[in-house]
């Protein structure tokens, strides 16, 4: 699910022990700020590459059935990176795409991950037939760790959602959510904010009613800011030229807010700095996790500006209501 959900887990935000330091760099040069990895707390996997059964109009890495620029990971590839992650002390595993359940080995991949730690899958919930949900419930019950399903849904009505995610996706997603709820999952429903701030309370209320109708009466909700790259840049206006992270902006900034100080993304074609910058030249940091953790992130892209502004709100933790 390329609708974001990125950024550091709440457990690492609001750090009381002092923020990180930016690597010293010549100031004034055009060189973008570089930030080292502080700890590999989150390991992300691009399990279905850029392949998705949907083609959402806001997808920030432009996934679709025919975007094959990144291909599926095999269970073996994921297992190798999982093994590499153990001595690095990774805290959480995240699975994204494209649509992870396009990957036929997805349940096996989750089984391997859940032996080692908690797993979160970012899904559009349209490929969750009964037997997949049963298998997920079996995996969750068999692990000491939590399996989180983050479901992207971008509106409280078919009109609102389908305008962004495509005809019929609201109904198909809600069917998937209903099955998850019946299997006693507590999915985190994630919406990209496509409305003015003043509407947020009303829309959260709408989500809560909608979900209560399928038996989900303590809905976990999460609103995320749009990333103005990929399809979203075409849908809206993209970033203004001044929207970049500069050295000055990082003075006194808590670097733990940026996912790239806490995470790396493994793909079928190497390890990348973060799940947002897939198609950017600087983003590929190495062939192996070992190489990629040793290299700093370069905050060279305009998407970094969104992380800078919104970093801490994007985590598994949800927003239940407005205040």
């Amino acid at each position: 699910m390329k609708d974001l959900n990125i950024l550091p887990s709440a457990s690492t935000a609001a750090n009381g022990l002092g923020g990180g330091r930016v690597a010293a760099l010549p100031r004034g040069a055009e060189s973008p700020p570089q930030v080292p990895l502080r700890a590999l707390d989150q390991l992300w996997f691009q399990v279905s590459g850029t392949v998705c059964n949907l083609r959402c109009r806001h997808c920030f890495i432009s996934c679709s059935p025919d975007n094959h620029s990144f291909w599926f990971m095999t269970r073996g590839q994921v297992a190798a990176a999982l093994a590499e992650s153990v001595p690095l002390g990774v805290k959480e595993y995240y699975f994204t795409g494209g649509e992870p359940f396009m990957n036929h080995e997805m349940c096996g991949i989750l089984e391997d991950a859940l032996e080692l730690g908690p797993a979160t899958v970012l899904t559009n919930a349209t490929l969750l037939p009964e037997r997949t949900v049963r298998e997920l419930a079996r995996l969750a019950a068999g692990s000491p760790y939590s399996l989180e399903l983050r479901v992207s849904l971008d509106g409280v009505t078919p009109e609102m959602n389908d305008a962004i995610r495509g005809e019929g996706t609201f109904a198909r997603c809600m069917e998937g959510v209903g099955r998850l709820v019946d299997a006693e999952f507590l999915p985190i429903i994630t919406a990209m904010q496509s409305w003015p701030d003043a509407e947020t309370g009303r829309i959260l209320g709408g989500f809560r009613e909608l979900l209560a109708d399928v038996g989900y009466d303590r809905a976990r909700l999460k609103i995320i800011p749009p990333l103005l790259i990929g399809e979203e840049a075409r849908r809206t206006q993209g970033y203004a030229p001044s929207m970049r992270v500069t050295h000055e902006m990082l003075h006194g900034f808590d670097l733990d807010q940026l996912l790239c100080t806490r995470a790396r993304l493994v793909t079928a074609a190497g390890v990348h700095v973060c799940p947002i910058l897939l198609d950017y030249p600087d983003a590929r940091l190495g062939d192996t996790l070992g190489e990629a953790v040793a290299r700093p992130a370069s905050l060279s892209e305009q998407a970094c500006y969104t992380c800078y502004l919104h970093g801490s709100i994007c985590a598994n933790t949800s927003a239940s209501s407005e205040f």
Binding site: T12, N15, L17, V86, G117, P144, E184, R218, F323
Partner: protein, 267 residues
């Protein structure tokens, strides 16, 4: 670091007290009766409960060794926020109510005492090297839940901190795991509020060591929770918190829970 030379065989470990002076007094008595050589508290003395000044005479009078929590650091330094690390607006709303009440009802002398607390205490339990901290050895407000904390992550935390056993709190739900032959993580839970299990008792950890072997027992503490609820109501503390004391179910701070911990609760 404070207490680095101390060695014990049997210690009681208390998690967040959240101003629950009745549970604290009951736990101290229970731990003494069970033969604890030393009592530890892992911080977060205030918040949630009534009359925050009441816990200090108990802690000091009983010689409880206290680690500084995020709450204590915030109150001690006069920060405007508890830095519990919640991310949800409703959770933050209740956290703010609790913090503002605790802040305005903690005396200046007690604030200075909170500010002077150590962020961690090291000691020996049998031959095991123990680090007592609040959230994690690396971050005062890091949440270490049972279902989101991999064993290999604990191995790395302990190696980085140079200890065998990590004692922590901050989350309010007790659990323990042995992650290596001598490696343990023990979350002491909280004395201040029930463990979101529908029971009104609260919990602490009793640890004993024979050489390098650690024994971990979680001990339920029954106390006069109705008296606490009445005192909270008398102080104008919000009903959501009082409901938790009376029912054993959390009503706030829920969005930070991983799905398995959330699913065990009622809300």
């Amino acid at each position: 670091m404070a207490g680095s030379e101390d060695q014990f065989d049997r210690v009681a470990v208390f998690g967040g007290i959240y101003s629950n002076h009745l549970a604290l007094a009951a736990a101290v008595e229970d731990a003494r009766r069970r033969g604890a050589d030393a009592l530890f508290c892992l911080g977060d003395l205030g918040g949630f409960g009534p009359n925050p000044d009441k816990v200090f005479p108990i802690l000091r009078g009983e010689g409880v060794r206290v680690v500084q929590g995020n709450y204590d650091d915030s109150i001690g330094r006069g920060l405007d926020d508890c830095r519990c690390g919640y991310t949800d607006p409703r959770d933050n709303h209740y956290a703010r109510l609790a913090y503002d009440y605790a802040f305005s009802n903690t005396s200046g002398a007690h604030r200075r005492w909170l500010a002077a607390l150590p962020p961690a205490i090291r000691f020996r339990l049998g031959t095991l090297r123990v680090l007592a901290c609040h959230g994690s050895p690396r971050q005062v407000n890091e949440f270490l839940w049972e279902t989101t904390t991999p064993s290999h992550f604990l191995t790395k935390l302990a190696a980085d901190a140079g200890c065998d056993v990590i004692l922590g709190g901050h989350t309010g739900i007790h659990w323990a795991r042995r992650f290596a032959p001598r490696g343990w993580y023990v979350n002491a839970g909280a004395l201040g509020r029930p463990a979101n299990d529908g029971r009104t008792c609260v919990w602490y950890a009793m640890l004993s060591a024979e050489g390098g072997r650690l024994g971990v027992d979680f001990v339920p503490v029954r106390y006069d929770h109705e008296a606490l609820a009445r005192e909270m109501a008398g102080e104008g503390i919000c009903d959501e918190f009082i409901t938790t004391i009376r029912t054993g179910w959390w009503t706030t701070c829920l969005e930070i829970l991983p799905s398995k911990e959330r699913a065990r609760g009622r809300y």
